[in-house]
Subunit: 333 residues, 2 copies
């Protein structure tokens, strides 16, 4: 294992400390319990949004804390859910009196711990709603999941729900738009190489020199099949086919296309993927009107990518375009 | 070689096409000759800035084309200088009547081809100045260089000179501030793994399972020494020592600290590097008042990082903070 780390057991604490120091204009870190929160939290009268989960997917979720997106992020150990305690503390920290939305990726540990935290926060008088993201079309159940996994679509849910909260929508409305984004986004990923969890020290799985895994999860958990390496365009075809089959995309539909790097794949490759994905969608009469290309929900240094397609409506588009000021996404005011 | 590419000889063209499609609100691509240019170029009465060099360092330079930074970027083949033709074409495309600044990383091919292009543009009546960046303290001469290499500091030169051009500074003034940034920035890098140039298909060098290269270049060219892997904090100490020794940093100095990923190293590690770098500088009485952390000048999928330290003055700080709207750097406005 070759990593720029010190003691593996301090990776998350040290990284969060560096992150908070680098972005002190936007966020503050609480160290015990560990969470990252908007410097201006709580925002009075506005819905607070909390997300979180195992670390190793950076910039998710800490990089999305700030104006127009998350109120707080709760990082667990690498690839391991945070316990309820820091989730409760983060929930209290962002509660401005209008309630708190939890955005939870569908993994058993995350769902359980966020549920417990929501109950504890409710017992303290905070109104909490939860939205569970499950956009991965690759597998029905998985190693850590009952039902589909929450992957790339989570980033889009967080941006759009964050914009709704920022404009002052009520808790039920913010929850409803988060649900709507999740219901309209589908994702599929591919891995070219595995990744190494620091405290494990060994790759979480192995791939042959010429082998790739189609439908990979963001923890390296199995997907649909292992095949020999193919040209990028053929891989893009394989990723898009189940997305397009999964629910009706009508010709004339406008979409947001999100090409996400798994961490170790350079931008030069992600734009090659993007180029062909636009072509494939165009052949189906689907127009890409918004996009996101880069490393936003990663699996440490894994090489690979995922493609997410979100069916947009006017409100989602407007909320996507709304200003956002976070470490990892920044536009507008 | 496992990459998300099609034919290795089309990597740059296809990637630039995807890039231009994804960022059509900011840039346009010319395909023959190949360059990326601001959609609003030429900007009348303002200095145009052109940079370029071999591809494989993305987002450098195309990701920095846009309002407040570069006017155009000229990508050569992977790790290979572009020829003078596209540089001349890009120079003409950004010439708004106030002259054009070339920002050139100090590699023999780049320097030669940008010089030829400047001569050709001058013969067509365009006033051109050139600034050659050479901020890498690792080696005096290198495989592709007479003198020091231009590395991470180039990003800072491009941002600050771009802001000067955007506020309407004359050509000599934009060149002068670019020179001043280059003179005040020092960089040193480390590689944990090599990278594979697509048309070569093999790693450009090899490193043992427990070996790292201190002082690596952005093409994988040799640095100062190979040593056994150490904890991140010890590696940061090794990178900062020659930077701090290289020119006088007085106690009380304010700096911009740039922790750059080489492409394959995840953010979680870069923030661990950032955290300790701030501590080391603080011990010397040096205060980090601005920062940049992420993958900005890369070597394909190489794992590793570089640290750049820029001595700031008030004008540089103001220009750093000025609005920028590019694919890879975006703030303000």
């Amino acid at each position: 294992m070759k990593k720029l780390i010190n003691d593996p057991k301090n990776v998350v604490q040290e990284s969060v400390a560096g992150f908070a120091a680098a972005h002190s204009d936007i966020v503050t870190a609480s160290t015990d319990p560990l969470f990252i929160v908007r410097s201006d939290a709580p925002v009075a009268g506005k819905v607070g949004i909390v997300s979180g989960g195992g670390s190793g997917h950076e910039p998710l979720h800490g990089g999305f804390v700030g104006h127009g997106m998350l109120g707080a992020a709760v990082p667990g150990p690498v690839f391991t859910s945070p316990t309820p305690d820091p989730i409760v503390a983060a929930t209290k920290a962002v509660d401005g009196g209008a309630g708190v939305l939890h955005i939870v990726k569908n993994y058993t540990g995350d769902v359980l711990n966020f549920e417990t935290a929501a109950d504890l926060a409710a017992a303290d008088g905070i109104e909490v709603r939860s939205v569970v993201t499950n956009d991965d079309v690759a597998v029905q159940d998985s190693l850590y999941t009952a039902g589909r996994r929450g992957v790339g679509g989570t980033v889009l849910v967080e941006k759009i729900a964050g914009a709704a909260a920022e404009r002052g929508d009520a808790l039920d409305e913010v929850a409803a738009i988060a649900e709507r984004v999740n219901a309209n986004v589908r994702t599929m990923g591919v891995a070219l190489t595995p990744c190494v969890v620091p405290h494990a020290g060994e790759p979480s799985f192995t791939l042959g020199d010429d082998e790739i895994e189609i439908g990979i999860g963001i923890h390296g958990e199995p997907g649909r099949e292992r095949i020999a390496l193919e040209p990028a365009d053929a891989i893009v075809d394989r990723l898009l086919a189940p997305i397009l089959d999964d629910f009706p995309f009508e010709s004339g539909q406008s979409v947001l296309l999100f090409v996400n790097g798994m961490g170790g794949t350079p931008l030069v490759e992600l734009y090659i993927v993007y180029r062909h994905a636009v072509e494939v969608l165009a052949q189906r009469g689907i127009t890409v009107v918004r996009n996101l290309v880069g490393n936003y929900i990663t699996a440490l240094e894994m090489q690979g990518a995922s493609i997410s397609v979100l069916k947009l409506d006017d409100e989602m588009t407007e909320l996507w375009d709304a200003p956002v000021q976070t470490a990892a996404l920044r536009w507008g005011r």
